[in-house]
């Protein structure tokens, strides 16, 4: 299962995502944001970081990168598209997910474990999880506060407490079809009990299982 892991200038979680996906048997590959073709890939991940230095608004410039055209095509074709942290912000800026991410309620960067609850198991990210399942996953963001005036976003994973003011306590949001998902905490950082948690595996496993080979 080939997964494109997109690297924008300023992305910094790309190597962690590759490592976690490999652990689950997928075949991830780093793809530079200037690429215009993702044919041959079964799915795509936009990893965390600070694409284009978060200039203007987080995700604003990345949403206009050449790579986003093929990402959009993959989303339309129903293929799994996952945005983590900054990737979530880019998906919102590019209109692939509803809403936007604004600075945390307390205006401070947060780097710590949070508890989240899976509330919807019909998306590519939550396919392997049970509704009601509680996971302990690191949060690591400044602009993690999701707002959706349209109220069309599907909240699929919810914070148990309220670390950042996110609407509806949303930690992960999907499009209507459930193939495009953005998540603010980092599942790839919770893939090894030696580091504190392996609760992220069930999410990434769902994503990997949702990858269907591209028809030849």
């Amino acid at each position: 299962m080939r997964v494109a892991v997109v690297v924008f200038p300023g992305t910094n979680c790309e190597r962690d995502v590759v490592r976690a996906l490999r652990l689950l048997g997928a075949d991830p590959e780093l793809v530079w944001h200037r690429e215009t073709d993702l044919s041959g890939f079964d799915g795509v991940v936009l990893p965390g970081g600070f694409a284009h230095g978060d200039a203007l608004r987080t995700g604003a410039i990345a949403a206009l990168s050449p790579i986003m055209e093929p990402v959009r095509k993959m989303a339309e074709a129903g293929r799994p598209v996952l945005g983590i942290c900054n990737g979530f912000q880019i998906l919102c800026e590019s209109g692939l997910l509803p809403g936007a991410l604004i600075p945390n309620r307390d205006l401070a960067f947060i780097c710590r474990y949070v508890e989240v609850e899976v509330v919807d198991d019909t998306t590519v990210l939550t396919a392997a999880a049970e509704p009601g399942q509680v996971l302990r996953i690191p949060l690591n963001s400044y602009e993690g506060n999701w707002v959706d005036p349209s109220r069309t976003g599907r909240v699929v994973v919810r914070y148990r407490d309220d670390p950042n003011g996110s609407q509806d306590r949303a930690a992960a949001v999907a499009n209507a079809a459930g193939n495009v998902v953005g998540i603010m905490p980092h599942p790839e950082r919770a893939t090894d009990s030696l580091l504190g948690s392996e609760d992220g595996l069930v999410l990434l496993e769902g994503f990997v299982c949702s990858l269907q080979p591209v028809r030849a």
Partner: protein, 716 residues
């Protein structure tokens, strides 16, 4: 050559004697650009002219040292083809002028020092010290520095995994911001700061050059602060972590493809340093054409271009046939690159600007011929008075004292700071911030690298030799309790004005103490930094050496000891010598007033034995915790808070509970274990309170005091 009555050399911070030495080297009066280059390269910050003679005392050799002091970072062999690169630096003065950018550019600079060696930077630490938080200015500086570290480190994508936060009056006018970086590389990827061979092409990579930090090295880091500090502001540099991230990836690709012969980062003294040092190291010279340097501003003069400290720049030395490949890598990572020079076969550094030669000097003279001072040294006369009047606390209320200690921002949790740092990136932080030492897994191996940094200005004020020695022992034990054997040390010596004989005495004593401890431990000093002139209005800071110790665990204990692994029913053991009733330099003494007395000396024999015991126990004990700030009571309280379990301590007396004598650690173990020779059982985990000396306090109350120490102080 005078403008306003003051000679130009003096305006650039040079003495007449130094100026005359330049004239002697050149055999003529220097051109303006030449004088500019000498002034920055011969500044205290770049040349270590006051400390260099004494730094030779450090033990620097061991079979596993690959690169010792003098290069951009120290490099040690950690086995199986892997190397570790480590470096520490200070950004004290820039952080006082502009805390956010000062700290941010400090982080950027230390990263470049490490990836210059061919290593991927894997982790950052920060040791930061401020005046008390009841003053708004100190809260502003502390907040700004933490934001700057977070802003740069998080964005560049290198985890900030630990460090120190400390507060003391002496840092009010002069905060200390030290940053340390660790990198990991394969042996074959090691690159040095050498120009290589004649004919090599110098390629300037990264950000455009502007008027940032003109004279930063000489003006900011080598002079004292006084009322006029604000007038020194025009030279503030601005960091761009996003540019640095691209630069890291581009450089790592250059190394992987073997495209560079040598590379040097541009830090203090900018191009002056990055051209002259690599040429000097290779015994060669260089032609440099300043018209080829990509600039951010118009109308820059040659001295400005040569002295600029614009951030995020590297100078690579490339064989002519590989230049196109280097430019292609730069283009792909979207960083600017210009070919600015060629390495010469002779030893001349020849710089042209607008077709005119603006400098023609022996390349090596900028660093090799830098002044070396043997400044007067005198033991301060006030020290005997301090020694004669030690603090004697007598009996204290245990719980009240413990809570007061935990509420002190220097003892309480630093989570307020480190939760703003991304400390988890790279998936290798096995033991992170909030512990004695950090433990990082080396990806794809069973090895772990541990690091601890320690500083203590109060201890070193009272006895710089004993104090510095104890810092080494403490850092070594901190590393050992993660299961890692100490293999190397780095140091950042923050002191006052070296023109005062007392400060020079402190410097020499600190070096001696560190050296003695390193020798006793058998570890080399592989790099360091000296930051002098840390004074405001003639008041020097307490001598504050910061010692970093690197340890190697091979194999790494999995899981290693952590503070949060204590469970009800486990036994608490204390390993190490019995404490004396000496409180000199301790946190208990700090609650009472200024430091006094003479600190307990380290005991090398006991120190080594305790470290060996820690290394053994790290593979069996769920919790190992060094006894340091606040003594045994604070150490056990920290375990209770992290694990959420109470404890009963069968220990009494102020010295036993709050003394900070060295070489002691707590082990929490399952009952019925094989007890170590150096240890004794002092209690057990259980319940939801800490019971000690006939008093009782809820763990939740301890946690509240500990976790709110800094947040409360920051509310003012």
């Amino acid at each position: 050559m005078t403008t306003t009555g003051t000679p130009v050399y003096a305006q650039l911070g040079m003495t007449e004697e130094e100026y005359l030495k330049v004239v002697e080297i050149l055999g003529r009066e220097p051109r303006p650009a030449e004088l500019a280059m000498y002034s920055v390269m011969w500044s205290e910050h770049c040349s270590y002219k006051s400390s260099r003679a004494h730094l030779r005392r450090f033990p620097t050799e061991a079979p596993w040292v690959v690169v010792g002091p003098g290069e951009n970072a120290g490099v040690v062999d950690i086995g199986d083809g892997w190397l570790a690169a480590i470096r520490i630096e200070s950004h004290n003065h820039p952080s006082f002028v502009e805390p956010y950018q000062g700290a941010a550019t400090g982080v950027g600079g230390i990263l470049r020092d490490v990836f210059t060696m061919g290593a991927r930077p894997v982790a950052l630490w920060d040791q930061i010290r401020f005046g008390p938080l009841d003053q708004p200015r100190n809260r502003y500086l502390f907040g700004g520095v933490v934001s700057g570290i977070a802003g740069y480190g998080n964005a560049v994508g290198v985890p900030t995994v630990g460090g120190e936060v400390e507060f003391d009056d002496c840092y009010s006018g002069n905060p200390l911001v030290n940053v340390m970086c660790l990198g990991v590389l394969r042996k074959e990827q090691l690159v040095l700061g050498t120009a290589g061979a004649p004919g090599n092409v110098a390629v300037l990579l990264g950000a455009a050059t502007g008027r940032d930090g003109i004279g930063g090295a000489s003006v900011l880091a080598s002079a004292s602060f006084d009322e006029s500090a604000t007038t020194k502001r025009p030279s503030v540099q601005v960091g761009d972590p996003f540019e640095e991230k691209k630069l890291i990836e581009a450089c790592l690709e250059l190394y992987e493809k073997g495209l560079v012969d040598g590379i040097q980062d541009l830090g203090a003294a900018g191009l002056s340093c990055a051209t002259s040092e690599p040429a000097g190291r290779a015994g060669l010279g260089m032609d440099v054409d300043l018209d080829r340097v990509h600039l951010r501003e118009t109308g820059m003069t040659a001295p400005e271009i040569l002295m600029s400290e614009s951030q995020e720049r590297m100078l690579a030395f490339v064989r002519p046939e590989k230049v196109d490949d280097v430019l292609e890598v730069a283009r792909r990572w979207e960083i600017d690159a210009s070919v600015i020079g060629t390495v010469r076969a002779d030893d001349r550094l020849v710089v042209t600007h607008h077709g005119e030669v603006v400098a023609d000097i022996p390349a090596a003279s900028l660093s090799g011929d830098a002044p070396l001072y043997h400044r007067p040294i005198a033991r301060p006369d006030w020290i005997d008075g301090l020694w004669a009047d030690p603090y004697r606390p007598g009996d204290v209320l245990v719980v009240d004292t413990l809570l007061r200690l935990l509420r002190h921002p220097g003892v309480g949790s630093a989570a307020w700071a480190y939760e703003q740092y991304d400390h988890m990136l790279f998936l290798d932080t096995v033991v992170g911030p909030g512990h004695d030492g950090t433990l990082l897994r080396v990806e794809g191996t069973k090895k772990g690298l541990a690091v601890s940094t320690d500083g203590n200005g109060r201890l070193c004020l009272l006895d710089p030799r004993r104090g510095a020695s104890r810092l080494v022992w403490e850092a070594a034990l901190n590393v050992a309790v993660t299961g890692a054997r100490p293999i190397a040390a780095v140091d950042n010596l923050n002191l006052g004005n070296p023109e005062k004989p007392e400060v020079m005495w402190q410097l020499v004593e600190v070096i001696e103490g560190m050296s003695e401890a390193c020798e006793a431990l058998g570890i080399p000093v592989v790099g360091g930094n000296v930051s002098l002139y840390n004074e405001t209005d003639r008041r020097d800071i307490n001598p504050t050496p910061v010692v970093g110790v690197l340890g190697l665990a091979d194999p790494m204990p999995a899981p290693p000891p952590r503070l949060d692994r204590a469970r009800p029913g486990m036994e608490i053991w204390l390993i190490g010598p019995e404490p004396t009733d000496n409180f000199a330099g301790s946190c208990l003494e700090r609650l009472d007033g200024p430091p006094r007395g003479r600190p307990t000396a380290a005991d090398p024999e006991a120190g080594r034995a305790v470290i060996e015991e820690a290394l053994r126990l790290a593979h069996v004990a769920p919790v190992l915790h060094d006894v340091s700030d606040g003594g045994l009571a604070v150490a056990v309280a920290e375990i209770c808070i992290a694990s959420g379990v109470g404890a009963t301590l069968e220990v009494e007396g102020t010295a036993a509970l709050f003394g900070e004598d060295p070489h002691r650690f707590v082990a929490v173990v399952e009952p019925g274990w094989d007890p170590p020779a150096l240890g004794r059982r002092i209690g057990a985990m259980g319940g939801d309170s800490l019971v000690v000396g006939g008093e009782r306090v809820a763990v939740s109350a301890l946690a509240d005091a500990y976790r709110n120490a800094i947040p409360e102080a920051m509310r003012g």
